[in-house]
Structures are given as structure tokens and as C-alpha cells.
């Protein structure tokens, strides 16, 4: 359940009802899709902040969805809200959250890689989410993940867009010198796909993929782990049966066209771009591998967090606001228009629209509708970090004993970040871990080593 859903709503089902999972029934889903086409007036900012704060408090008190519902059902939502405000100063908290404290620094630089994963970071600039918090943020397109890392360490960037395994790898000193990093927000969930070259359109069974050459954007990326997971579940050993290379996203499409690779698990817009240019087709969306998996992240150096807490809080608020805005399907078309120009993603608008709205050409002649092809939900669940570390260990990127819980809590919700979120009026959910299933296999974050031992295909360590 997304943290943006209204926790006072007892009607919203806990299990999925329609094909996008956000509505009670297919009928309601269709109605909303209809309404989304018309212009819906945005709720006032104050109301929105009040809602955010009240939701956070409610969630903190009843972290379990089922228990909260039982309580709400017995007393009613209005009474519950009144009861909560009795012993929690909701109004004050909202004011503190909305106004914030004086900013230490107003002109900030935030780096990003031009892929749709960066949507909230980018759109917050043209759509005014930064300026609403009194910040003057310049979002700067950056050539690669290593450059982003270096420029954040250099303090040229105050914060940056990163891959969600990167802060873990950097903190543990895998593939770089160890540096404590914080990741206060996940940028996007879902939003990737496996794209194959047109010549393989009859080879849809992964068992036939022996000898294939695949590309992923970075070794420490969800793309790499998801592709390896998917292949291994189909009995293909990703280290011996196929070749997986790290290739920058734009070169993925060019290599696919040149017949140099057979496919890639890449970030959008590159999957849709391959379809748009007629060189590939979408084999499977990553949401069908792991529904709700994290992908990219918003990361800041620990020094920035500690020396400029107010600026950091304001920045985080802008990101969370923007993420909440991007979460709503009815805003997606507008977002596609805002981020398409050369200053941001520099892509044809129709390509971005297909990705963000989830109505897209699959490259095989079908128009597919998958509204949560990409979604936006910022909460950095620590169990995500634990899962990522099990995969790092599974494929031999880290060796020996790993203190999963400790690293996860350091990076994915640093104590500092939790304190700042509270100061800002947010209450991070009390549970920092949740269970989830990847390709039908449930992951218990409390037993990572058992999970790891259950895989037949993995690198001998």
C-alpha cells in the first residue's frame, strides 16, 4: 500500500481489485481514468499538508493496516481524527511542516541522470515544487553514475539522483572507497523492462536464451539484480550461460540496433525508445518480476544532512511533495510534457507519455495498458536494502558475513533522516521493513541467509 493513500479510508481494499490495483473494481478504475482526462482542481496546499501530517500520525499509531481499519470502523474516521488531534498537536505540526525553519542555503544544485526514474527530482524544478519551499534548485544533467558520486563528494552537488543499491555499495566500500551515505527517499518503484531485439520475437521463453548478450546500466543496480534473478528463476545461470555487460542507457538502443546485444534490462525511456525506433520489443515489465520494487533513489551526503538540516528538510519536503504529485495517474500527462524538453530528459514527448501513463506500444503491434508500469513512492523500506544485499552476496559482489539490518538502517533510514522527517512534520512509518514477493517467492527480511541459501543458482562463495 502506498504511503500516499489515505489511511482514514476503510473502503480502499488491501487486496487488489482492478487491473492497476488502486481501485476497488474495474468499474471504478475506468471511471477514474475518465475523470483524469478532465481537469480536476487541486486541493489547497494547507489541506494537503494537514492530510499528510494526519496520515503520518495515524500510520505511526497503527502501523498495521488491518488494526487501523478495525479501529476506524468502530469509531468512524471523523471521530478518529478528532481523537488523534486531542493528544497530538496536528495543527502545530502542520504549521511547522508547511513553513519550516530558516534555510541555511537557498541556491542548491541537484544532479540527475536523464532517465524517467529521476522524474520527481526533475519535475520539481519546472513545476515549482522547490520554489514552494523557498529553494532555488538547479537540476543538472550528469554524464554518469560515477560522476554523480564524485560531484556529490566534491560538494558541487548538494544532493543527487542515484541507483538505490549505490548508497549501500558506497557505504560498504564495494566498488568505491567507503563513505557513509544516506538515502532518505526512493525515487520510483517499478518502471524498468526487459527489451529484446526484434529478431527474438518468437523466443519468448527465457530457457531459449542461452548464449544471449544482455546489457544493464550499472553493476550495482536493481536492473542487474532483477535480470539475474529472472534468468536464474528460469534455469539460466547469468554468469555462465549468458553475458551481462554494463552499458550506458543510450548505448543500449544503439547496440540493439547494431545487433551487438540481444536485449537489455534498462531504465526507461530506453525501453520505450527501442520500441519507438522499431529496433526492439518489450518482453516483460519489471513490475511483473517484483511488483513495487525500488529503482532509483534520492541521496545526499551525510555532511549536507548534518550541517544544513533545515535546507535538507525543505529539499526533502519538495521531493516528497513532487513524488506524491507524480504518484497520481491523472498528473502523468502533464509531467511528461514538463520533463520532455532538452533541458531535462530531451526525449520525444510521446515516448515519455507512454511510459508514465502506462498505455504503450509493446513493439509487437499491441497497445498495452499497465497503469502502474512506473510508480512513485518515496519510503525507503529497509527490507529493500536487505534484499539488495542478499543479491549482492548471491552474485559475489560482497563476501563474508554481512550485518544486513545494521547497514540497512544506516543507509536507508539513517537516524538523522528519521529525526529530520519528524521535525518536518512527517512521521515515518514505525515499521521500517515489510515483506514482499519476488516472482512468487516471499522474502522474509528477518532471515536473509535462509533466503539466500534457498537459491539453486548462485555464485559459489
Amino acid at each position: 500500500m502506498s504511503i500516499f493513500d489515505n489511511p482514514f479510508d476503510t473502503e480502499n481494499p488491501l487486496s487488489m481489485g482492478c487491473n492497476c490495483g488502486r481501485h476497488r473494481s474495474q468499474g471504478e478504475h475506468d471511471r477514474e481514468a475518465q475523470v483524469a482526462l478532465q481537469c480536476v482542481p487541486a486541493e489547497s496546499e494547507d489541506e494537503r499538508y494537514e492530510g499528510v501530517v494526519a496520515s503520518a500520525v495515524m500510520r505511526a499509531m497503527f502501523p498495521q493496516d488491518v488494526a487501523r481499519r478495525a479501529f476506524l470502523k468502530s469509531v468512524g474516521a471523523a471521530t478518529a481524527l478528532a481523537a488523534v488531534s486531542q493528544f497530538f498537536p496536528l495543527k502545530t505540526a502542520t504549521e511547522v511542516f508547511a513553513q519550516g525553519a530558516p534555510l541555511e542555503k537557498k541556491d542548491l544544485k541537484v544532479g540527475f541522470i536523464p532517465i524517467t526514474c529521476a522524474t520527481p527530482i526533475i519535475m520539481a524544478a519546472p513545476m515549482g515544487f522547490y520554489s514552494k519551499q523557498g529553494l532555488n534548485v538547479e537540476v543538472i544533467k550528469t554524464a554518469g553514475w560515477a560522476v554523480i558520486r564524485d560531484k556529490t563528494l566534491n560538494k558541487e552537488y548538494d544532493a543527487a539522483h542515484m541507483l538505490s543499491p549505490m548508497p549501500l555499495a558506497i557505504t560498504m566500500g564495494v566498488g568505491s572507497t567507503p563513505q557513509p551515505y544516506t538515502m532518505p527517499a526512493v525515487e520510483n518503484i517499478n518502471g524498468q523492462a526487459i527489451t529484446l531485439a526484434m529478431k527474438h520475437k518468437d523466443k519468448r521463453d527465457p530457457k531459449d536464451w542461452k548464449g544471449f548478450k544482455f546489457a544493464v546500466p550499472f553493476d550495482y543496480s536493481m536492473h542487474n539484480y532483477l535480470l539475474r534473478y529472472y534468468l536464474a528463476e528460469h534455469g539460466i545461470d547469468p554468469d555462465t550461460d549468458v553475458q551481462i555487460r554494463a552499458v550506458p542507457p543510450p548505448e543500449m538502443v544503439a547496440n540493439l540496433r547494431a545487433d551487438n546485444i540481444d536485449g537489455f534490462l534498462g531504465p526507461d525511456p530506453m525501453n520505450q525508445r527501442a520500441v519507438y525506433d522499431g529496433v526492439g520489443f518489450i518482453h516483460i515489465l519489471t513490475k511483473d518480476i517484483w511488483e513495487g520494487h525500488p529503482c532509483c533513489a534520492f541521496a545526499a551526503s551525510k555532511e549536507f544532512v548534518t550541517t544544513m538540516p533545515n535546507t535538507y528538510a525543505a529539499l526533502l519536503k519538495s521531493i516528497i511533495d513532487a513524488t506524491a504529485f507524480a504518484h497520481k495517474p491523472e498528473n502523468r500527462k502533464q509531467i511528461a510534457e514538463a520533463i520532455a524538453p532538452a533541458n531535462y530528459l530531451n526525449q520525444p514527448q510521446i515516448v515519455l507519455e507512454q511510459i508514465l501513463t502506462g498505455t504503450f506500444a509493446d513493439g509487437l503491434g499491441n497497445v498495452v495498458t499497465q497503469p502502474n508500469r512506473v510508480d512513485f513512492d518515496p519510503f525507503p523500506w529497509q527490507s529493500f536494502a536487505v534484499w539488495i544485499m542478499t543479491q549482492m552476496k548471491r552474485w559475489g559482489q560482497i563476501k563474508g558475513d554481512v550485518d544486513y539490518a545494521n547497514v540497512a538502517s544506516q543507509v536507508y533510514l539513517a537516524t538523522d533522516t528519521a529525526r529530520l522527517m519528524k521535525e518536518a512534520g512527517f512521521t515515518p512509518p514505525e515499521t521500517t521493513s515489510k515483506s514482499f514477493a519476488v516472482m512468487g517467492k516471499t522474502f522474509d527480511p528477518a532471515k536473509p541467509d535462509d533466503y539466500l541459501a534457498s537459491f539453486k543458482i548462485r555464485k559459489a562463495s
Binding site: 544533467k141 554524464a143 560522476v147 566534491n154 544503439a254 519507438y276 503491434g365 497497445v367
Partner: protein, 279 residues
């Protein structure tokens, strides 16, 4: 006769160019619509998929796009979208700055090495080791130590431009005719004055040749450096358009880089002619 040769060469150049453009145009023509697609599906696809348009742009596409760039070279639509003129301006400024720093460091040092066999022998191992290092190999180190990407780019220009100038200056100074230096010595000219009035004019053509090689290398390197650090400049422009898979803009950038490089070279060639004298 000379003018007729020039005339004939010009005609041949134009003919080669026309053949090249014609072949390019023919090779990249779009074919008929590829397959039948439902109109709803076709709306979501690009021209390469629906019209069978070649992924490689033709000369007309490049020409049209180039005209767009020439019409508004100095627009500024935010930190990541600036006109071609502004991007070139950034690159040229970086190259000139790094290059001038290299001139200031290399020429006095080259003089010293050329005039003193002791220093020449002492510095030789260092120069031999540092000279063959690819400029871009310095980039990670520069980023890490200087902690500023645009200064790092300038540093990379500096480090790659310095060697040809240093070596040529040293060579030019060392091979000034002994007779001229002896004449100066006989006339009791002081060492400073000797350096400026005898050695410098004699070595100037060699020094300028070194400078000409250096500026060429500096211009080669800036594109790669800017692709790596991003931000602004013509190298960043190429990277940004590559991200967008816009081969048209990449071709335009290549053309512009070639023209600016040629201009740099011609300017220094003119300087070289100015200081060359018949013996």
C-alpha cells in the same frame, strides 16, 4: 598557371563534396511504410518504425537542423539547454584558459631546459614518464583532488598542452646556432638580454610549431573531457544529443568541432609565418 591550378582544385573539391552528399542522400532515403499497423499503434511509434525512415539522418535533415542552430546560437533555456554558440563559447574559453596556463609554464621552463644541459638531463626522466599519459587518465585524479569539475577540465587541457610546447621550446632553444650566441657573448650582451634578443627570435618558429601542436591536442581533448564531466560545452552537447539518440545533432557537433579546430590551427599558422625569417 598558379591561379588556374587553384581554380581546378576548387572545382574538384566541389565535385567531391557533391558526390559525397549525393551518395549520403541516396543511402539514407526512407523506404515505403514498413508493415501495416493499426493507426492507434502507429501513433505511438516513431518515423523509423512507421515510415521505414533510415536511422541515419540524410544531408537535408542535417542541413535543416544546422539552420535552426545557426538562427539562434545563443538561447539559454536553463542549466541543461543552451544554444550551440554558448556551448562552443564555454569550450573555447576552457581551452584558451588551460592553454594559456600551459604557455606560461612551458615556455620559461623550455628555455631553462634548452639553455642548461644539467637541468635538461635532470628533468628528462620526469618528462619522459609524464608525456605519454593520456590526458583523460588524469581526469579521475583531478576530480578527486581539485574537487571542482570545471577546473579539472582546465587542468586536463593544461597537462596535455604543456608537453609539445615544452619539448619544442627546449629543442628550439638548444639548437640556436652557436655562432650567434658567441657573437652575442663577444659583444658582452648580458644573459637576460641575450635570451630575449638572440635566442627568442631564433627559436620562435620552433616554439610556435610546438604551440600549434598543443592547441590541436587541447581542442581534441576538451570534447572528451566535457563528455565526461558534463555541464556545459560542445562535448556535453554531443553527450546530451547522444542520450537523445539524435544522430543529426551529433553530426552537426562534429562539423562544428572540425571548423573551430581548423580556425585555431590557422591562427597559429599565421603567427608562425609572422615570426619566421629568412636566414
Amino acid at each position: 598557371m598558379a591561379s588556374s591550378l587553384r581554380f581546378r582544385a576548387a572545382i574538384l573539391s566541389v565535385a567531391i563534396f557533391a558526390v559525397f552528399i549525393g551518395a549520403w542522400h541516396l543511402a539514407t532515403r526512407s523506404t515505403a511504410p514498413v508493415t501495416t499497423m493499426s493507426p492507434e499503434y502507429a501513433k505511438l511509434m516513431g518515423l523509423t518504425a512507421t515510415q521505414g525512415k533510415s536511422a541515419m539522418p540524410g544531408p537535408l535533415d542535417v542541413g535543416a537542423k544546422l539552420w535552426e542552430h545557426i538562427k539562434s546560437p545563443f538561447y539559454d533555456k536553463g542549466p541543461n539547454d543552451k544554444g550551440l554558440g554558448i556551448q562552443l563559447g564555454y569550450s573555447i574559453a576552457r581551452v584558451l584558459f588551460g592553454y594559456l596556463l600551459a604557455v606560461v609554464a612551458a615556455i620559461p621552463l623550455g628555455f631553462l631546459i634548452g639553455m642548461s644541459p644539467l637541468i635538461s638531463k635532470a628533468l628528462d626522466p620526469f618528462i619522459q614518464v609524464l608525456k605519454p599519459i593520456s590526458p583523460l587518465a588524469w581526469m579521475p585524479l583531478a576530480l578527486y583532488t581539485i574537487k571542482d569539475s570545471s577546473i579539472s577540465a582546465i587542468f586536463v587541457i593544461f597537462i596535455c598542452a604543456i608537453w609539445p610546447m615544452l619539448i619544442n621550446t627546449a629543442f628550439g632553444v638548444a639548437s640556436v646556432r652557436k655562432e650567434w650566441i658567441n657573437v652575442a657573448r663577444t659583444l658582452e650582451v648580458g644573459p637576460i638580454r641575450r635570451a630575449f634578443t638572440v635566442i627568442l627570435p631564433a627559436a620562435a618558429p620552433t616554439i610556435l610549431t610546438g604551440m600549434r601542436i598543443s592547441i590541436g591536442i587541447a581542442w581534441l581533448v576538451i570534447v572528451a573531457a566535457e563528455m565526461l564531466v558534463g555541464g556545459t560545452g560542445i562535448g556535453y552537447f554531443v553527450w546530451n544529443e547522444w542520450n537523445n539518440l539524435s544522430i543529426t545533432n551529433v553530426i552537426i557537433a562534429i562539423l562544428v568541432i572540425g571548423i573551430v579546430g581548423m580556425m585555431f590551427d590557422q591562427i597559429l599558422a599565421r603567427f608562425t609565418r609572422m615570426v619566421t625569417f629568412p636566414e
